[in-house]
C-alpha cells in the first residue's frame, strides 16, 4: 500500500491499527454520551429545570446560578451572551421565540430592553416575597420586573496620561479636542452603552444627543468591543480615558493599574451619574413557571446582593437590608442622573438608528 507521505507502508499492520482506533474512539464516545446525560432526580420524575438568559458576564452570574441549583436541586440551563452583542441579542432571541418560548427567566444587566419586552407583552408578572425589600423606584408597579445590583456609568482615567489638573469631569469631555483619538467607548449598539445613549436621547432630546454623538465621532473616539475592553485600554495606556461600567473599572483599580474612577457630571448643575440596575423578569409562557419564580426570588435575596457587591464586580446593592459598599458609590451617595427609563426605552430604536449610521459604517 502506498504511503501518504512518501514513506514505505507495511500493509499487514493496517487492520491491527484500525482495531486499535475503534478501541480508542468508542470508549470516550460512550463516556461522553453517558457523562452528558442530564439525569438527576428520581427515575420516573421529570427533572426540575429553569432556563435563564443572562446578560451579566458568566464569570459573575454562573457561580450564583450554580449555588441556586445546589440548594434547590433545580437544574439551571443558562444562556450567556457575548460582550460584542450584549443584551440586545438575548432580548431579540426572546422576541424570536415568542410563539414557543423556551426561556423562563431573563436576567438582564440593564433595564431598557426589559422595559421594551414588557411593552411588547413578552413578560409575565410575578410577586416574589424578597421584592418587598426593594425601593419602589427600582421595581415595576405592575410586578413585571425587579431591579437589583446596579452599576454606575463612569469615566475611567489613566492617571499617568491625564494629570490631575485636566482630568475629565463630564461625559462631554469625551468629545474634548484636547484628547482627540485618545478617548473611548464600547460599541454603542449593544449593552449598557446602547442604554446610556438611549437615556441621553430621553434626557437631552434627539437633536442634542445626536449632535453629541457627532462630536464624539468627529473627535475620533475609539470604539471597543465592550466596556471591559474600554477599561483595559485605559489601564494599558491605549486610551487616556473612557466611558465604562463600575464593575469593569473597579477590576482595573483593584489590580493596581494606574487608573482612577471619575463619577461624571457631579460638578455645578451637571445632570449626575447614570445608574443602571440589573433587572430580572419572568418570560410570558415560561415552560417552568414555578422554578422561574423560585429563581427570581433567590436573585432578589439579600444574600445575592451581598455576594454581587462583595465579589470582583462590586455591584451596587439596591436591597434595603444590604448596606452600601465602600468600594464604589451608590445613588444615595452621589448625584444620580434622573432618567425616565420608560421614555428611554421608547427612544431606544431611534437612538440605535442614529448610532448605526455613524458608528457601523
Amino acid at each position: 500500500m502506498a504511503s501518504r507521505f512518501g514513506f514505505r507502508v507495511p500493509d499487514s499492520k493496517v487492520r491491527c491499527s484500525l482495531a486499535r482506533i475503534c478501541c480508542l474512539i468508542l470508549p470516550p464516545a460512550l463516556i461522553g454520551v453517558v457523562g452528558c446525560g442530564r439525569g438527576g432526580g428520581p427515575a420516573n420524575a421529570p427533572p426540575r429545570e429553569v432556563v435563564v438568559y443572562t446578560a451579566l458576564d458568566s464569570a459573575f452570574s454562573k457561580p450564583i446560578l450554580e449555588e441556586f441549583s445546589r440548594r434547590t436541586g433545580i437544574r439551571v440551563s443558562p444562556k450567556f451572551d457575548v460582550e460584542s452583542t450584549k443584551t440586545v441579542g438575548l432580548a431579540n432571541m426572546i422576541r424570536a421565540e415568542k410563539d414557543r418560548p423556551r426561556c423562563d427567566v431573563f436576567w438582564n444587566n440593564e433595564i431598557l430592553n426589559t422595559l421594551m419586552l414588557k411593552t411588547e407583552g413578552l413578560l409575565e408578572p410575578c410577586d416574589p416575597p424578597e421584592a418587598a425589600n426593594y425601593p419602589e423606584e427600582w421595581k415595576d408597579r405592575e410586578k413585571y420586573w425587579y431591579g437589583f445590583a446596579a452599576r454606575a456609568r463612569v469615566l475611567i482615567v489613566n492617571t499617568e496620561l491625564v494629570p490631575a489638573g485636566v482630568r475629565p469631569s463630564s461625559i462631554r469631555d469625551l468629545a474634548d479636542p484636547a484628547f482627540r483619538g485618545r478617548t473611548g467607548i464600547a460599541k454603542p449598539l449593544f449593552g449598557t452603552t446602547a442604554s446610556h445613549v438611549a437615556c441621553l436621547f430621553a434626557a437631552w432630546g434627539p437633536e442634542k444627543a445626536t449632535s453629541y454623538l457627532d462630536a464624539l465621532k468627529a473627535n475620533d473616539i475609539q470604539i471597543h468591543g465592550g466596556n471591559k475592553g474600554c477599561a483595559e485600554a485605559v489601564a494599558n495606556g491605549t486610551c487616556a480615558f473612557a466611558l465604562t461600567d463600575t464593575d469593569d473599572a473597579i477590576i482595573e483599580v483593584e489590580a493596581g493599574r494606574p487608573v482612577r474612577i471619575v463619577y461624571p457630571d457631579q460638578l455645578g448643575d451637571g445632570p449626575g451619574t447614570l445608574f443602571l440596575p440589573n433587572t430580572v423578569s419572568v418570560v410570558k409562557g415560561a415552560p417552568h413557571p414555578r422554578e422561574a419564580f423560585e429563581l427570581v426570588n433567590y436573585l432578589l435575596s439579600a444574600e445575592v446582593e451581598k455576594r454581587l457587591a462583595q465579589g470582583p464586580s462590586a455591584q451596587i446593592p439596591l436591597n434595603r437590608t444590604v448596606g452600601p459598599v465602600a468600594r464604589v458609590r451608590g445613588p444615595s451617595q452621589i448625584r444620580a442622573m434622573r432618567v425616565d427609563f420608560q421614555a428611554a426605552a421608547a427612544a431606544f430604536d431611534a437612538a440605535r438608528r442614529v448610532v448605526e449610521t455613524r458608528f457601523l459604517q
Partner: protein, 551 residues
C-alpha cells in the same frame, strides 16, 4: 437488471425444483433488498435535503416576509445609498483580509512544503507529524494565543493582525495540501529538465511548482473561504467583514434578511468557483487510487543548506503546535486555578466531544453513500455535486441563522431547537461536504468488478454497500470521521448562533471569555479546547505511524 458478468464469475446450473425455490427466495430477498435500499436512499436524501433546508429557508426569507413577496431588504442593502456604502466597506475589508491571509499562509506553507516534501531535508517525518498536529489546532485557539502576545486592545481594527492570525492558523493545512500536490509530481519531467541543462531552481519553478498548481489553487480557495466566512477573529478585533456583519446584524435586528443578503454575492461567487473546480475534487478522476502511478519521486539536494533548512522547517512546525501552549501557560496563574477553571468547564468539554463524535459518525455513514452515488450513478452526479458545492460555499453564520429559522417552530415531533441536536445538525450541515470529498477517492478506488460480482451473487444495492463498499472504505471512512470530528471541535461561527441554553461547547465558552480579554479562564478554555482536539489526534498519529510514515 442484466448485469455484465465479468470473466471468472461461476454461474451455477440448477434443476427446475431448485429454480422455483430460488425464485421464491429471490423474490423475498429482492423485496427486502428494495425496502433496505429505499430506506437507505430516504436516509441519504433526508440528510442532504435537511442540510440544504436551512440555507434555502434563509434565502426564501430574504424575499418572502409576512405573507408577501418583498424586495425591501434587497433595496436596503444594494440600492439604498447607506446600504451600498456599507456593503462596499465590507467588501473592501473582507477582500483585504482574505488577500493578506492568503499571501502569508500560501507563501509560508509553500516554503514549508518544498522543504518537507521536495528536498532531502532531515527531520522530515517529525516535522510532517508536527504539521499534522498543528493542522488540528482550532482557529480560535490560535487567535487566543496570538492575542495574548500582540495584545487585544492594541490589535483592534487592525486588518493585518487579523490576517496574521488567520494565516498562522491555516499554514499547516496549506503546507500539507501543497505538499501532497508536490508529491504527486513525477520525477521524469524534473529529470528531463535537469538533463536538458536547467538549474535546480529553474526546474523547481518551471516544472515542479507548475505541475503542482492544483495544490496551490486548492490552498488559496480554502484559505479565502475560511477567512471570509469566519467572524471569531473579526468580531473580537472589530474588523468589519461580511461574516462579522452577519453576526452583528442578526442579534441587533433579530431579522435574517439583511445579514443573509450581505453574504449572498459571496456565497454565489464561491459556489461558482467550486462548480468550476468540481472535477478536481468532486466528480473528476481521483488523485488517489484512480490516478496513474507517478513513479519515483525526486527530492532536490539541499547541499550546504540542508541542515539549516531542516532545522528551520522543524522549528516552524514545532512553533505552530507548541506556540499556543507556550504563550497561554503563563496566563494560567498557577496549576490550582487552571484545575478549577478546567473543572468548571468539564460539561462544555464533554458536550464538545460527544456532539462532534455524533456529527462525525453521521457524516461518515451518510457520506459513503453520497460518495457512492456521485461515483457510480451518473444521473445523480450533477445534482449531488451541486448540493455539495452549495453546502460548501454557504457562509457558516448564515447557515446558523437558517437552522434557527428551521427548528424554532412547533412542526417538529422532537424538540430539536432546545437540544444539543442543534449542534450536531450544524456540524453535519457544515462538514458533510468535507466528508464526501474525502470519501470519493476511496469509493472510486473500489474495483467495479467487486460490486458486479456481488450483484451476480444476488446482492441488491443495500447488500453491495454492506458487503463491499463499506468494508473497503473503512480505513478512509475512519480518517474522514476523524477529520469531521476535529473540524466540529473547532467550529465556532455556526455553533455560537445555534447553541441551546445549558449546552455550550468549549469553543463557545472560550469565545465569550475572549471578549473580556485573555484572562486565566480564557487561557484555560483555550488549552482545554486544544487538548480535546490535539491529544486524540496525537494518539491516532502514533497508532497510524507505520501507515503514514513507514517504518
Amino acid at each position: 437488471m442484466d448485469a455484465f458478468v465479468p470473466p471468472g464469475i461461476i454461474i451455477r446450473v440448477t434443476t427446475m425444483g431448485d429454480r422455483r425455490r430460488m425464485r421464491i427466495v429471490r423474490a423475498a430477498r429482492n423485496g427486502c433488498e428494495r425496502a433496505a435500499h429505499g430506506l437507505l436512499f430516504a436516509l441519504h436524501a433526508t440528510v442532504v435535503l435537511g442540510a440544504l433546508a436551512g440555507p434555502m429557508l434563509v434565502l426564501i426569507g430574504t424575499v418572502y416576509r409576512d405573507g408577501a413577496w418583498t424586495v425591501e431588504p434587497w433595496r436596503n442593502i444594494f440600492a439604498d445609498a447607506t446600504g451600498i456604502a456599507r456593503w462596499l466597506v465590507l467588501l473592501r475589508h473582507t477582500a483585504w483580509l482574505a488577500l493578506l491571509a492568503t499571501a502569508i499562509s500560501v507563501t509560508a506553507g509553500a516554503a514549508l512544503a518544498l522543504v518537507l516534501f521536495k528536498s532531502d531535508a532531515r527531520l522530515r517525518v517529525a516535522s510532517v507529524a508536527l504539521l499534522l498536529l498543528a493542522a488540528t489546532v482550532p482557529l480560535y485557539v490560535v487567535a487566543g494565543s496570538m492575542l495574548s502576545i500582540m495584545g487585544k486592545e492594541a490589535s483592534l481594527g487592525s486588518i493585518p493582525r487579523a490576517a496574521l492570525i488567520h494565516a498562522t492558523a491555516y499554514v499547516p493545512i496549506v503546507a500539507l495540501v501543497i505538499g501532497m500536490a508536490l508529491r504527486s509530481v513525477g520525477a521524469d519531467y524534473e529529470e528531463l529538465a535537469l538533463v536538458e541543462g536547467a538549474g535546480t531552481l529553474r526546474v523547481l519553478m518551471c516544472v515542479t511548482l507548475r505541475m503542482a498548481r492544483g495544490g496551490f489553487v486548492a490552498a488559496v480557495v480554502l484559505v479565502v473561504l475560511w477567512t471570509t466566512t469566519d467572524y471569531s477573529v473579526s468580531d473580537v478585533l472589530l474588523v468589519r467583514t461580511f461574516a462579522e456583519e452577519v453576526y452583528t446584524q442578526f442579534p441587533l435586528r433579530g431579522r435574517m434578511q439583511e445579514p443573509a443578503l450581505t453574504c449572498v454575492p459571496q456565497a454565489v461567487l464561491f459556489a461558482a468557483l467550486f462548480w468550476a473546480l468540481r472535477r478536481g475534487f468532486l466528480t473528476g478522476e481521483s488523485v488517489e487510487g484512480g490516478a496513474p502511478d507517478v513513479g519515483a519521486r525526486r527530492r532536490f539536494a539541499g547541499g550546504r543548506w540542508r541542515w539549516p533548512l531542516s532545522i528551520g522547517a522543524a522549528a516552524v512546525a514545532l512553533f505552530l503546535v507548541a506556540g499556543p501552549v507556550v504563550s497561554l501557560v503563563p496566563l494560567l496563574h498557577g496549576s490550582r486555578q487552571f484545575l478549577e477553571n478546567a473543572r468548571s468547564a468539564h460539561h462544555e468539554i464533554l458536550t464538545s466531544i460527544w456532539t462532534s463524535l455524533a456529527a462525525g459518525v453521521i457524516t461518515t455513514a451518510v457520506g459513503v453513500g453520497i460518495a457512492w452515488y456521485i461515483v457510480r450513478r451518473s444521473r445523480w452526479r450533477k445534482l449531488l455535486a451541486a448540493c455539495i458545492v452549495w453546502m460548501l460555499a454557504f457562509p457558516a453564520p448564515v447557515l446558523g441563522i437558517g437552522l434557527v429559522v428551521l427548528f424554532n417552530r412547533d412542526v417538529w415531533p422532537f424538540d430539536v431547537y432546545d437540544s444539543p441536536a442543534m449542534l450536531v445538525c450544524a456540524y453535519v450541515a457544515r462538514f458533510l461536504p468535507v466528508g464526501v470529498i474525502l470519501l470519493i477517492p476511496a469509493v472510486r478506488a473500489i474495483p467495479v468488478e467487486c460490486e458486479l460480482a456481488a450483484r451476480v451473487d444476488g446482492c441488491g444495492t443495500a447488500a453491495v454497500w454492506r458487503r463491499v463498499v463499506w468494508p473497503m472504505c473503512l480505513p478512509t471512512a475512519l480518517v474522514s470521521m476523524f477529520a469531521v470530528v476535529v473540524l466540529s471541535l473547532g467550529e465556532l461561527p455556526c455553533s455560537v448562533i445555534v447553541t441551546p441554553p445549558g449546552w455550550d461547547t468549549i469553543g463557545v465558552r472560550f469565545f465569550g471569555a475572549l471578549h473580556s480579554g485573555m484572562y486565566p479562564d480564557a487561557a484555560t478554555f483555550c488549552l482545554a479546547a486544544m487538548a480535546t482536539v490535539v491529544v486524540p489526534w496525537a494518539g491516532l498519529l502514533i497508532l497510524l505511524r507505520r501507515r503514514l510514515f513507514g517504518e
